[in-house]
Symmetry: C2
Subunit: 361 residues, 2 copies
Amino acid sequence: MGSPVGSDMVGTNVDGGSHLDERKAAILRAVVTEYIETAQPVGSQRVAQAPEVSVSSATVRNDMSTLEREGYLVQPHTSAGRIPTDKGYRFFVDSLGGPGRLDPSQRHRVSQFFARAHGELEQMLDDTSKLLSGLTDYAAVVVGPNHESAAVRSVQLVGLTAHLGLLVVVLSDGAVEKRSIELRDDVGEARLAAATAHLSAHLVGRSLHERSSSRSQPTALPPTGDSGTDGVVADAVIALAGLAADRQEEMEQVYVGGASRMAAAFDAVETVRSVLSILEQQYVVVTLLRDVIDRGLSVAIGKEHGVLPLAECSVVVAPYVSEGQPAGTIGVLGPTRMNYPQALTAVAVVSQRLGRHFDDS
Amino acid sequence: MGSPVGSDMVGTNVDGGSHLDERKAAILRAVVTEYIETAQPVGSQRVAQAPEVSVSSATVRNDMSTLEREGYLVQPHTSAGRIPTDKGYRFFVDSLGGPGRLDPSQRHRVSQFFARAHGELEQMLDDTSKLLSGLTDYAAVVVGPNHESAAVRSVQLVGLTAHLGLLVVVLSDGAVEKRSIELRDDVGEARLAAATAHLSAHLVGRSLHERSSSRSQPTALPPTGDSGTDGVVADAVIALAGLAADRQEEMEQVYVGGASRMAAAFDAVETVRSVLSILEQQYVVVTLLRDVIDRGLSVAIGKEHGVLPLAECSVVVAPYVSEGQPAGTIGVLGPTRMNYPQALTAVAVVSQRLGRHFDDS
DNA sequence: GTTAGCACTCGGTAGACTCGAGTGCCAGAG
DNA sequence: CTCTGGCACTCGAGTCTACCGAGTGCTAAC
C-alpha cells in the first residue's frame, strides 16, 4: 500500500514512465477500481470523490491528462471519461502488494470443497476448475499435474478379443494408462501371461520416461526364449514408448470450467464466440499458461500474452506445488477489466490448497 | 416428397390441424426453408417466387393467414413477414422423408476421420463430437457406449504408497476403471498379491454389474484364511461396488464439441450464456438426450424437450448401434431455425459409421 | 502547485418524418 | 368456389434534428 511500483514484476514498460508520483498513482488506481466495478468510462469528478484522492476534480483532470499522455489511460471519445489501457491495468496489478485474503464465505466454500474432495484425479481437477470459476465468476482452467518422474508400479497385458489386447500400466502417482495392441493369431492367454511377467520383471520400479528415449526405436527387452512371446513383448514395448510420449504431451490435460461465464463478460457476441473457440483448443490454453508462468508473471493482461483473439482478456495464473515441486497450473480467464484482487487471491488460495491436497492423499 | 405427414413421427399435435392440403404444406415448407436460410421473417412475395409454389402472392397470403391461425406460423408484428413456430418446424421435419445424402466433400471428411481414427475410446468420442460439430456448424454431443454387460477381464491391486493402493479393473469392452483404496499398516506386497489372486479367481469373466446388486452391502467373497488379506479383499469389493454404480451413472460421459458455435447462432448474449451453461451440465445433457430417444423421436424442437433455457434450441439425435445393440447416442444442438435436413443426415451418417467403427475394432 | 470558472465537445436520447415491405380485404375473373 | 389483381393500411427501421449533460481543456486567480 506504499511503494509505487513492485519492481519485481514489471511488465511492459515502453519508456521510463513507470515512475508516477503518489497522487497520480492513487488517481490511476481509483480509475481502475471504478472502471472494474462499473464498466463505464470514469470522469474526473468521480475520481475526486474517491476517499484516497483529496484534490479537486480540476487537479484530477490535469493528472488524468498526463496519465493519458503516458499511456495509462485512454478516452473512448473526447468528452467522455477515461478507461485504463493494458499498461494502466499492469500498473494497478503490480501495485497490489500480493494476493489478499478471501472473504469468509468463499473461504468456507473452498474448505468445504477440499474437505469433501473425493473421487479420482480427473474428476477432482475438473471439479477444481468449477470451484475456481464459481469463486471468481470467470472461466477457470486447471492443468493436471505432470509427474514426469512417475515410476511404473504395474504392467499388465489383458486380452480383450482374439486379436485385440490391452496394455495397462499403473504409475506411482496413481495414473492408469492404457493402450490397445493388436495380437497375432498365435497369442493365447499363456503367452500374454508370460509377456506380462517379462514386462513386469524389467519395467516395474523404473520411470516410464527412461524407457522411451527414442520413440521410433525403443530399447528392446532381452528375449524370453519363446518367439511368440517376444513378439507380443516387442509390440508392448512400442506401445509403451508411444504412451510415454503421449503422456508428455497430453498428460497436460486441461480442464476448463465455467466457460459460459465468458458470455456474461462481453456484450459483443462475436468476442464471446472467439474466446470460447480458443478455450476449446486445449493446446492453445496450455501453451498460454505455460508461457505466462515461464515469463515469471502471475498475470497477463490483454495483449501481453500473444493470443490475439484474447486481446480483451486477462489471465491470472499460479502454479501449484506438490511434494516440493511445481506440479501443474491453475488459472482464471476473464475480461481485461476483471476483478484482479479477487482473482489473484482466489487463484492463490486454490492453488495452495490443491497442492496441499495432493500431498496429503 | 409426397404424403403430407409422416404418420410415424408425429410429435405435438394440439388439434386435428395436421391435415394440410398439399399447397399449404408446400407454402409452409417454403417458409421454413427460407427462414432457415435467411433468419428473416418471410413474406408472401418471396414464397410466391419459390419454384414449388405456383400461385400468386395473394393466394399465398390467404394460406399463410390460415397457417397462422392453425399455429404453424407467427408474425413478429403486424406488417412483417412470418416465422415458423415449433409446430411449423415439426411439420417440416416430419415431412422430410428421412435423412438425405451427405454432400461429397463432407462424405469424404467423414471417411477420412474414421479411416484415421486411432487412440483410445475417450479421445475417439471427443474427436467424434468435434467432427459432428464441424459438419453441421452447431454444437455436437456424443454419449459414450454403455456396455452394461461388460465382463471383467482383469482385476489387480497395486500398491502406490504404504497406505494407498489402487484397484484397477479391465473390462471386456476395453475400459479401464480404477479406484483408490486405503491400506492398513499390515498390508504389504504379499497380501496385495494374494488379494489380487483371490479377486481374480472370483471375479474374472463375470459382469461387473452382477456383483453390485446392493451397493451398501456387496456380496462378500469367501474367506482366504488370512484375515489381513480378507480385509483388503473386503475393501476392494466395496470399491468395486462403488465403481459399478459410478459406471452406471457416470460412464455415460458426454463429450461436447463446438460449443462455441452456439455463440454464432444467437445474437442475444444472454441466450448464449444460458445455453452454454446448460451444455456444461453433463447430467442435464445426458438426460435430455435419453428423453428424446426414449420418446422415439429423432428431433426435439424448441419447447418439445422440457429444458426451458433451451427453448430456442432444437436437438437432433441418433443412437449408434454396436454389436447389434444400441450403445450410445450422438446428437446436434442448434437453434430452432437450424438446418434440419443437413443435421439429420450428418447425425445419421456419423452414428452409423461410429457403430460400425466399434464393431470393426 | 492547486483550484474555481467557463467555453466547448460530442455521445446518447427523444421526437418527427419518411420509406417500404408486408398485410388484409374486396371485387372481379375463371 | 377458387384464385388473382388492386388498394388502403400498418408499423418497424432508418434518417434527421434538436437537446441535454457529463466531461474536458484552458485560463485566471488563490
